[in-house]
Each structure stands twice: as C-alpha cells, then as structure tokens.
C-alpha cells in the first residue's frame, strides 16, 4: 500500500507539461510537448542526446520559461513555494568543492526549508544508506566522482520531497552504484515519492519505470507503460533449419517478414521471422511442424526497451521528424 504524500492518489498529476515549446537561437529544442506524471509512479523520460529532455525538465520546474504552453507542478504554476516539495538532480552537477560532505547536504536541505538539525539527521541517515558515512566530514574535493555524484543525489532528496526529478542520474556511476541508485529509486517510490528521471540507458527504465515518455528531436514519440512500448515493436522468432529447407511457404500468413539471419553454417540456416499482427510464436511452431520443417532451434525473441527505443527513434527519423 503506497503512502502517498498529502493524500495524493496515483491518478493525481504532480508534474505536467501542456503543449510547451522552446526555441534557442531559432533552433527548436522542444516542440509542442505534453505529458504528465502521476503521484507515486516512476516515470522514465527517455530520448537520445539532444532530444530536449533537460530543457523540458527545466521548463517543468519553472527555471526556464517556455515560448508557448505551460508547466504545472502539483497542479499550479511552478514557484519556489512548490519547488520546496521537489528534489531535482540537474544534468550539469557539482557541489562546493571546499565544503564538507555533510555541510553541503545540510546547506541544500536548509534551502529547501529544513531546519539545520533535521537536515543534519536526515543527511547522516542517507549517507549511511549510500555507504558514505565515513566521508561525512571530508571535503567534497577529496571524494571520487562516483561518491560526489551520490552526495549530489542525497542533496537533492535530503528534504524528503514528494516529487524527485533526476536528470541522467546514472551517468558517471559504475554498475554497482547504478544498482544502488536503482534500489534507492525503488525505495523512494515504495514510500510514495513520485520519481521522474531522464536517461538514454534503456535498461534502467525497463527495470524501474511504470511509465515511459520517449522524446526525439524535441517531440514526444511515445507515452505509455513499458508493456505498451513493447507492443510497438513487432514480435520476432529465431529459427534454425536444415540448410536446404525454406520455411517461407509453411509460414505464409503468419509472418510480416522472414529473412535469412546470416549465411548457412554447419549444414544449418538461421532465420529471423517477424510475426504478422495477431500471430504468435506458438502458431509459428505449429506451422513449422505441420509443414515438415525440421527445426534445430526455435527461440521467440525477447524484446527490450532498447529495441523499442531504437525502433521508435528510427521510425521518427524516417518520417523526417514531422
């Protein structure tokens, strides 16, 4: 059972962009973008580099004015009253190098309205959670890049915000720390905190997100949950037959496309079968058996968000980004 802040429900949008656009020096960075993030969810904001993710997040936080459209935070116009309820990790990050770790966390906690003692208590607890207790009183400049990034994340969430927006939070972290951060994001969501994070590494989004919004060249090209995203990608099956066999006739009507997957080897031929709409892998298997095709391998292809991402971005580029 989620313990959402301030009685918000999972259908309450805490962050919304409505038809926002932004142009820099005549070059459109964000074009007519709309999406919302409901309370208590983890939303991935995905897109290639330069897609306009950071600009959109900044507009959503009110630190950059859109040319048109509007941003809403907790149902209202972003201002520093509601921003105290938000934790933000910017893409360009850094801390005062000469400050101690704990002092930096307390400073940002106090800027977000915490008392010094509360910020200190919570900062120490988070440092312990991230395995950084021993550097609490060390200067930031003595920390490794990964450590400093974790301190920055702690600074962004020390005030226990209702909405956490993380811009490329995994970049610069090693795989172990990426996993620690994933666990931390899940823990935040379990406590009812709404999380919106941008990334171009699909694995994190696939493991974490309830919902994804995909951006390319400043335009939204997908908005939905992960399973819906998967459905945008045609399902496929990998077959291996005798080198002389041809499954095309047997599979007619079930496939959208069938292609040899490389040259024959060891008397075998690999095939990549892209299923027609409504067909499934079981039907393909039955059709092969009924058609007398000897199969030495049959493997329905597992789809990843990365493939969805590539597929949608390619499709968008093929359409000229219109």
């Amino acid at each position: 059972m989620l313990d959402l802040h301030h009685g918000a429900t999972m259908n309450t949008p805490v962050f919304a962009l409505e038809n926002i656009s932004k142009t820099f020096s005549g070059k459109p960075a964000v074009r007519d973008l709309s999406f919302s993030v409901n309370a208590g969810t983890i939303t991935g904001f995905l897109g290639p580099n330069g897609a306009g993710k950071s600009t959109s997040l900044r507009m959503g936080l009110g630190i950059l004015a859109p040319d048109s459209g509007r941003a809403l935070l907790f149902g209202g116009v972003p201002n520093f009253g509601v921003l105290d309820r938000v934790g933000f990790l910017p893409e360009e990050r850094g801390l005062y190098r000469k400050m101690s770790t704990l002092a930096a966390i307390v400073f940002f906690g106090r800027l977000k309205g915490m008392s010094a003692s509360a910020a200190r208590r919570r900062g120490l607890a988070l440092l312990e959670q991230f395995g950084l207790s021993d550097v609490a009183h060390k200067k930031i400049k003595t920390l490794s890049k990964g450590m400093a990034q974790k301190v920055q994340i702690i600074s962004a969430v020390v005030h226990n915000p209702e909405l956490v927006i993380l811009d490329e939070p995994f970049s610069g972290l090693d795989p172990v720390n990426q996993r620690t951060l994933e666990d931390f994001i899940r823990a935040l969501a379990d406590k009812g905190t709404t999380v919106l994070f941008s990334t171009h590494v699909m694995e994190h989004a696939e493991r974490l997100c309830d919902r994804i919004v995909l951006l390319a060249a400043g335009r939204k090209i997908f908005d939905g949950d992960v399973s819906q995203a998967m459905q945008t990608l045609p399902r496929a099956v990998h077959l291996q037959t005798d080198a002389g066999a041809d499954p095309c006739a047997a599979l007619e009507g079930l496939v959208k496309a069938i292609n040899r997957d490389g040259a024959a080897h060891d008397g075998c031929q690999d095939w990549l079968v892209e299923l027609a709409s409504g067909a499934d892998a079981g039907q393909v298997l039955r059709a092969c058996v009924q058609g007398g095709i000897d199969l030495s391998a049959f493997e329905p292809q597992k789809r990843h968000l990365h493939d969805v991402f590539m597929h949608l971005v390619d499709a968008d580029q093929r359409q000229g980004g219109e």
């Binding site: 630190i63 520093f80 990050r93 850094g94 005062y96 940002f108």
Partner: protein
Amino acid sequence: MRHTYLIARREYLSYVATPGFWISLAMVPLFMLLGIAVPLLLEGSTPTRYFSILDADGRYDTAVEQRLDRQHKTQIRSVLLALSKVPGQSPGLEKALTALEAGQSVEAVLDVLDVNARTAVLAIKQDYVLVPAPGVDAAQLRPFLLGQLTIETDQGPQPLYAAATITRTGNGAVSIKYWSTAITAEQLKRTIVRAVRDQMRIEAFADAGVETEIVRSINAMEPDLVSLSPEKSADQAEVTQSDTAPYFIAVVFAFVLWSVVFSVANMLLTSTIEEKSGKVLDSLLVAAPVRALLAGKLLGVAAVSFTLLSSWALAGGVAATLGGQFMPAGEGASAAILGAVIDPWLILPFLGYFVFGYLMFGTMFLALGSLCETLQEAQSLMSPIIFILMVPMMALMFVVKDPTSPILAVLSWIPLFTPYLMLARLPTDPPLYELFGTTLVMIITTMLILWAAGRVFHAGAMHQAGVDYFKKLLRLKR
C-alpha cells in the same frame, strides 16, 4: 528571505574560512604598523658616519661643524618641547630649553636635565661627526674611504664615510671635491655645501664692511606664517591640524573605498566563476530563486567587506589612541586624525557610497562571472571595467593637490566615479545641488545596473549566454 540569508551565510563563511581573508584582515594594520615602524627603525639603525675635511684655509671645516651642531641642537629642542607637554615633567626642561636658546653646549643642557630626559636626549645620535683627516690628500684618504683602513673614534675603529677637499680659487670662488663610496647619498653633501655657502657670504659681507653678527642674524631671518581660514570666527581663524585632517582623511577613505570595492567585486567574480565552472549554479537554481542567489552573494560578500572594514577601523582607532598616549609629540596630530576619522559626516557618506559603489561594481562583476567558465574568459571582459575603475583612482591624486578643481566637479557627475570623488571632496563643502544631483544620478544608475546585471546573471546562470553573447552585445565581436 530564507534563501537569501542562507546563500549570504554560506558565501560569508566560505571567505572567512580561507587563509586569504585573514591575510587581508592582517594586511592593512600590518602595513600601518610597518609604515610607522620602518622609518623609525631605519632612523634608529643608521650608524653615526665619520667624515673629514681637507681645508687649506681652515675656515670652512669650522662652519660645517657648527652647522652640524645646530642641526643636532634642533633635534634636541624638539624632543625637549615634546617632553615639556607631558604633565608632571621636571622644571629642568625649561632650563634646558633656555640654555639651548642661549647657544650653550649640549653638555650644559644635559647638566640641568633629570635622568629620564637626559636618557631621551642622549638617544639622539649625531648623524655625521667631523673627524681630523687621516691624510693630507685624496690619495692618502682613499684606503680609509674604501674601508681598507679605519680611524679611531668613540665607537671604536670605523671607516671614513666621506671626505671633502675645499680649496679657494683666485676670484673668491670656492671648489669642493666630495669623496665617498655612498655616491647617491645627498644629506652630508648638502650640509657641507650650505655651511660653506653661508661662510662665503659672511666673508663677502665682512669684506664689504658688514659685521659678521649682523649677517648671521640676517641669515637666520624667517617670516612667521600663520594660515587662517575665513570660514572660522575671527578670533579662532588659525588653521590647525584638526582643520586640515578631514581633507586628507577623506582622500584616504576614498582610496580605502576604492580598494575594498575592487577587491570584493573580484571576490564575487571568482566565486561566481567557481560556481559556474563547478556546475554548482545548476543545483542552486532549483533550490533558490535567481534574485535570491544574486542578493545572497552580494550580501555575503558585503558582510565580508564590513568585517574587514570594521576590523581595520578598530585597529586604526586603537593605534591612534595608543599613538596619542605613547607619543606625546604626536598627540595633537593623533587627536586631529581621530577626530576626522570618527566624524559622522564622513563615516555616514562613506557607508552610503560604499553601498552604491559596491552594488554597481559588485553586480557588474557578478554578471560577468555568470557568463564565464574560467578566469581567463573573465579577464577579457573585465578590462574595460578595470580601465573605468582606474579613472577615479587617478583623479584622487588631483583631489590631494586641488580638491576644488572643476575637472573633479565634472568627473563627480559620472555615477561610476561618484562614490570615490564625492567622498574625497566632501570636506570642501560642495554645493548642495551637486551633492544631491550626483547622488540621485548614482542611485538611478545603480538601479539600472542592478536590473541589467540581474538579467545577464540569469541568462548566464541558465547557460543561455556566455562570453560570446556578451561580446556580441558590446559589439566587440562581429
């Protein structure tokens, strides 16, 4: 307000915690101390120099010796006068002064003094002492002058500092050949020349039938100058140190104001560049409004400068008080300086001009810092501002010479110069329209700079503007 306070607090603590702050804090009192101590130390450490005169006629060496004796007695007299101002001094001082006026020897003066006064007088060394020449010509004196041979003195064997050969030529002219390894030292050379010149004049007058004593008394004639101010009442019109001190103190205040504004504006510049290059600004932008960042940084660094100023003022006050206590001769001057320094009509404008001078240059430097990732980038933009800042610095030199110069009055209307020039000109009582007019222009300009700098800072902080943008704005880059 919370954001502004927290940013100001962090800014303040970040400077106070640096060694540079403590060095700056100690620097001014240290220089003040050195300014007083170094001349005293130099004077105290200068040894007595021994010199000889080869005088074929035997007339001029006596004149030189008498002149040195008079200089020594003048020094003794000023010490005795200073001591006489300290309450509870013995009546021996009066007798000693009378003896000096009567031309008695130093020994006679010492005889009437108590132990303390005698110690003070004995501490006054003679800078130069004439000794019999250890040779009859320059060739014989050379090894003594080079330090290869020494002469016997009260202080043991000493080298010969200088030697002068004085010869009289046919038509009454006198030639002095001055030998010394200290070729740039002028004092002894000048003393010898003046003593010989006076003696030559006395002899010339004597040849013309004028008595020597009359010539001496004529030579000793000096007009008694009393400087009066028509602004004071007729019976107390004499210009005293208390009247002149405010002019000098105002200029000193203006210099202090200039240097503080310049150094704290630099602090703002470097701290903003550090935040921008260290990517801290991005984190701050979501934690506090841009105006709070701007105000917080300005207030934090202003607090640093007020800490510096008040510490220096405290050190100056202590020094002036102690100076007055331990140096009776300087009591009048100390009181006059202290009176000028603590004059509210100088302190209040100083604070006001500091606020506006700081706001104008501080926000400009802050805005520039927000556009730059490195100090090198900033330097290219700072050059015009530094050039502008140098103008009042140079104009302040004119204030010392002629505070009522019309050029200064014109320059005072340029708002970037107003804080420094008007402050320095305040003791000259500039017209009220000038006082209020320049202040009004300065306030309006400050508001405009704050508005413009705020916009540039916002754009720079948001990575929407950089050095190139600013250069284009100034049409420095096509």
